[in-house]
Amino acid sequence: MLRRLAAPLTLCLVMAGCAGDSRVTLDFFQFKPEATETFDKLIAAFEREHPNIRVVQNHVPNAETAIRARLVRGDVPDVLALSGNSVFGELAEAGVFRDFSGYAGRQAINPAVQKVLDDLGTYRRGEVNGLPMCTAANPILYNKAIFDQHGVQPPKTWDELIAAAKRFQAAGVTPFYLTLKDAWTALPTFNSLAANLAPPDFFAGRTADRTTFAQAYPDVARRLAELFQYGQPDRFSRGYDEGNREFAQGKSAMYLQGTFAIPAIREAEPDFEIGAFTPMERLVTGVDVVITMPREPRRPRESQLFVDYLMSPEVIRAYTREQVSIPSLKDAESDDPTLQPLMPYYAAGKVTGYPDHHIPLAVGLERLVQQFLIDGDQRELLAELDSEWDKVMERRS
């Protein structure tokens, strides 16, 4: 079977190589397996506009490990689409990416979102090493049908949220479907609380040993525990996939997950409309897709053309519509009904990045939080966070 396929395949590859001699080939590195088809469509449209450029989409499992391995060999792809997380920050600080601070297309980008990305790290102060294409947010998702049925409005404050949770519980409805078997599923809520309750310069202070988690995070821990008591009894034996399915089947009024869970929930075909709100002042948002190119591009003109194309409002809208994410443009709103109520936060600049991007992975935040939600020992959680942080910093120095 394989052998029969191999001959024509090799021929194809050779032919493609030959046929491509008049065209410039761009190597486009893309990290998101769910978005492969969307990018294929976008690339096809780009190639129709620019018949002399061929774009090869390169997507691999474990994209972050793969891109690191390629960088070690000094082999940077022509155009990159990456996730806006701590790994992107590290690479930007290492001076791998181009400086876009003078780029004209930047005018259209929401400055608050750009700041979230730049805060992860840049090569030199004031540089812009990536362009945010779209974002994901950490609101609370809710079942509109259940809210209507019990006459509950989406809470705007913490007290309203707790009141709503109590009301659902009294009516025999599970307020939150919790999936704590997967430890990371507590982090979206942790991030929302930490971003709003802890001082904004906490991590700088923690690094300089001016403050500790024990001093700055008691409120975060207390509210986290308060909220998570309104879950279903078997919360520690259910995982993320079960959570998406059960919430879609109407098993709870609310669901503590980011907007990235929406496509998975819709796949289970809920017979209600999914809503989103945040009881906090500022919405935690992360850059879902960053577009960037190497500091010293091999084909500057063609790479730039493709970046221009990807960052054009029409393409961003087409992408975000298919992937249910939020365009990071100043004036462009998502037309997805679930995301609509979150748009004012972007317009007013009331968005902030993920605090846990500043906590080294070796600290094991998610395990500590999971343990805390089981035993409720707040002192132990904060002491462990401080001691793990100190140990990791000592090992790094």
Binding site: R68, V72, D182, P233, D234, F236, S237, R367, Q371, R395
Partner: protein, 277 residues
Amino acid sequence: MSRAYYWMVVPAFVLFFLLHTVPVLQGFYYSLTDYPGYGEHAFVGIRNYVNLFKDDRVLEAYLFTFQFAIVATILTNVIALAVAVGLNARIRFQTALRGIYFIPNVLAILIVGYIFNYLFANSVPAIFGGTNLLADPDLAWIGIVIVAVWQAVAFNIVIYLAGLQTIPEDLHEAAMIDGAGRWRRFWSVVFPLIAPFFTVNMVLSAKNFLQVFDHIVALTNGGPGSATTSVSLLIYTGGFQGGEYAYQTANAIVYFVIIVLVSIFQLRILQRREVTM
């Protein structure tokens, strides 16, 4: 000496050296650096090793792994020996039963783990009441022991069966004529004669259980909290996901030495009581 012997030994040695010894030496080198898994690194001497002994998380992982390995090794060998003696007796469907008892060994641990995960989360609470074993930090290790023993018993039965078949029938007959009962015959004839097989099984299962990884990934992923984080899992999560490659490589080197020492110790003790006919 015939050259044929060299043809047999040298290729195996070269392969072993290239694919096993070289990576171990490389790992030892990295354990003396601050290498995060990519990019540049600098030599830091034995700092990683010093830090290991100051890390309570590492100590907890060692404690958990040893407790788990001791309980699982004893249970596996007791159960496997009992089943093997039963399967060696003249019973009906002997061949079919031997085949059935071997099935767990050919199933992938990850798949078995996910099935047991479902059983613990849904079926067991529905039938016997109570909550999910794996969701309780104090009891989760029992769930892992159950799955690990269930899976490991299959292979140990095969080795014990092989051992039982080496015992000549006339020894049984002689013991019976001397008036020995079933228990007496087992303890005084059978068990001493299969001692070499007992040694192999004890050493192999202890070594395998000390390296426990797949079961935990499939069942609890080290949780709840870090209640079931074994040393191997800690090396993997800290080294590859946590970006502390060099530090966890040092941990791996220490653990390798410990496992070798445990195996040598076991062999010494157990071989002392082996008898030869």
